[in-house]
Amino acid sequence: MLFGVDDDQLDNVFKALGDPIRRRILDRLAKRPGQSLFEICAASFAEDGRSLSRQTISQHLDMLERAGLVQTHWSGRTKMHTVDNAPLRKAAAAWLNKHLKKGSAT
């Protein structure tokens, strides 16, 4: 385990990032933290022009949550989603940065 991250956690982070829909969800949550499933669906439809089912988006959010990239909290009785960059930083420290440093000439 390097920098407090094991391979499973790294897998979860990179798998979660390995999908354009999930990356777009992260982008939008970073811009506007604290969104309900409904708001994420509405924004996804408005900005991407394609209608994904609530269930599909919900599954993408589950993957992001498992990777620790999305945290949830309750606002009243509504579940809100917010980005957490800690797993990204850990993944960078544990794996990405060593390659970036070696290849800094390119």
Partner: protein
């Protein structure tokens, strides 16, 4: 055939009456005692002869779990149209109404979502694109 009424399931009819009239600004169309509850409908001041909204008691055992599941995911139980969303948002916020979604662009509409204090989320929309 015409749609003359639609309903929201409210936890408490008296409280709902206050919210839907005092805060949202609808007016009472019918208020008829029916046993433990009332046949209680409101209409928009802008369309008193338009579709009525029934403030229906949510006493059926399935109503609670259904309403909770919608609120958890932030899904509105009803949607109302306004001419100027920002203005309406400001007016309602001053009246202490809580919003789960601040005004945002959503394709051909702008929308916001508020809490009706009776177990429902309500969507407000303003049409922005010529349809």
């Amino acid at each position: 055939m015409r749609i003359y009424i639609t309903s929201v399931l409210v936890d408490d009819q008296a409280k709902a009456l206050d919210f839907y009239t005092e805060k949202l600004g609808f007016i009472v169309k019918h208020d008829i005692p029916m046993g433990d509850h009332r046949w209680l409908t409101v209409v928009s001041k802008e369309a008193p002869e338009g579709t009525e909204l029934l403030l229906e008691p949510s006493e059926h055992p399935a109503a609670g779990p259904f309403k909770s599941a919608l609120v958890n995911d932030g899904i509105p139980a009803a949607s109302f149209k306004v001419d100027d969303l920002n203005k309406e948002f400001e007016r309602l916020r001053q009246l202490g109404v809580a919003f789960t979604v601040q005004p945002m662009d959503a394709g051909p509409v702008r929308m916001a979502v508020l809490d009706d204090t009776c177990g429902n989320l309500i969507q407000l929309i303003e049409m922005v694109a010529a349809s």
